[in-house]
Amino acid sequence: MNTKRKVKAKILSRKMIAPDIYDMWLSTDLAREAKAGQFIGVYTKDASRLLPRPISICQADKEKGALRIVYRTAGAGTEEFSRWQPGETADILGVLGNGFPVSEAVGKRVVLMGGGIGIPPLVQLAGELAQAGTKAVIITGYRDNKLFLKEDLEKYGKVFTATEDGSVGTKGNVLNVMEDRQVEADVIMACGPMPMLRAVKSYAEKKQIAAYLSLEERMACGVGACLGCVCRTVHKDHHSHVNNARICTDGPVFDAREVDI
């Protein structure tokens, strides 16, 4: 049975792949249970920083029993992670949340969209889709020409890039690529900053296609107990009985039609 647990994971490698963006492989049997779109909580080693940092799973190597996370340093906690050395151990909590509904995309024209630090989970997602025989179109959005994970994604599908400053690919955001490159989708799966996700939601509504969005929020427990990380839902949530769903346990991936963002 797969159960959530807090375990010690050995750091296998850690390197910077773009400014403030780090790529880390962790040895843990949690990898065997991980699916695209799920996340882990990573604890700092400083007792003054209590809460696990929710970080999405970039890749799960089930054979080796290793998880890859790609994260941006956003504060003292993630800065500490960026100094960890291979061979050190770290406490992690996982596997958390529900992943992307891969079965909803198999055999369809699926477009994966990632913005900035929302790109990493697309690697595992594109891999799972490829394994199920579905080659996705992948659209990645970056601020500038400091790209990351591009080669990893190219293994699994056609990758288009947008940059805010126009230095690479389409100038603008991931949705500008849809127009620019005449991409058609039956289903979109997206992860990125809230303005991007709002735009994807309204695009999908206009086109009357399905979209699944991976949301993010300040989180404490990560397991559905504290009700810290809620998002507004269109219908009353089955668990909360109000229009709030827990991002950590009911998400982080939601059907765009179900959330009021």
Binding site: A47, L50, C221
Partner: protein, 301 residues
């Protein structure tokens, strides 16, 4: 070796409980902890109707602790009765339901709805700092606390615990008011009102601006208040505030608490409750303590 404690006629197999709001209704942490190991599960606060809670962000980390402003989101007492109580009944642990409301009538409605339910005790939340109406408004003035306690006591079928706020000048006076009004026990401390500001955005981190501070940062305040409250009244005190280890819990017992609760530290260590229960037993063995009552108020002055 006896680890059983008796509070208002209810016998708990050990003094370790969960602090309301940090453990859901037990379901989420049953992946990590055998709930049979716990003296009691204290549920998330429940009102007469579902409450949506506050806007996000609702939580923020601070040095040695965290702030929360959940705003008592809860699915209402009907869902608790249909879903959560039957779940907890499967375990050999006591059930304490935390009750919240915006008016005295709200509290009384919940208390009456729970009258015939298999609930061992009620914990009355008059100390949540994150909702505009009710809650803490009843818990910061001794006469208001006396009034709501006596009204609830008149209706409650189960023994009642009044959960006190640390955001008061004289905790002893509040404890005495609860006792005089008939409370069977008191629990403390709820969170301390705090604030965090993002200096880069020049903005409040929490949507609610203020939030309740919990975690190890508040433990010395909690130990002091448990000591003061337990020496002001004869009714049992349930102590909480930053407990994450057996050592922390034993401090509270020595300060005068008859039982303890683990709160924010569940988020840090999801196994904390069971580890505290085990660690108290190990401490008793180490010091040759036969009965947990030797520890309660067992400080040598």
């Amino acid at each position: 070796m006896n680890t059983k404690v008796n509070i208002a006629g209810v016998e708990f197999k050990n003094p370790v409980m969960t602090a309301s709001g940090t453990f859901g209704s037990g379901m989420e942490y049953s992946d990590f902890v055998d709930l049979n190991r716990l003296g009691a599960v204290v549920t998330k606060g429940v009102a007469n109707v579902p409450w949506p809670g506050n806007p996000v962000p609702r939580v923020a980390e601070v040095y040695g602790g965290m702030l929360n402003a959940i705003g008592l989101q809860n699915p209402g007492v009907d869902v608790l009765i249909e879903r959560d109580i039957p779940f907890l009944k499967k375990y050999d642990t006591k059930i304490i339901v935390n009750v919240c409301g915006k008016s005295v009538e709200d509290y009384l409605e919940v208390v009456e709805r729970l009258g015939e339910e298999p609930v061992d005790m009620l914990e009355i939340n008059v100390s949540c700092p994150n909702v505009k109406e009710g809650a803490i408004a009843f818990g910061q003035k001794a006469d208001c606390l006396y009034d709501i306690t006596s009204q609830i006591k008149a209706k409650a079928k189960q023994p009642i615990i009044m959960k006190l706020s640390p955001n008061v000048t004289d905790i002893g006076e509040m404890a005495k008011a609860a006792e005089a009004a008939g409370a069977d026990a008191i629990s403390l401390i709820n969170t301390l009102t705090g604030m965090k500001i993002d200096i880069h955005k020049r903005a409040f981190v929490l949507a609610n601006k203020t939030g309740g501070l919990s975690g190890p940062a508040i433990k010395p305040i909690a130990v002091r208040m448990v000591y003061q409250a337990s020496h002001a009244v004869k009714i049992p005190v349930i102590g909480m505030g930053g407990i994450g280890t057996a050592e922390d819990a034993i401090e509270f017992l020595l300060a005068g608490a008859s039982a303890v609760a683990v709160g924010a530290m569940n988020f840090v260590n999801p196994y904390a409750t069971a580890e505290v229960a085990e660690g108290i037993e190990a401490y008793m063995k180490k010091y040759g303590i036969e009965d947990i009552y030797e520890l309660i108020d067992g400080i040598r002055e």
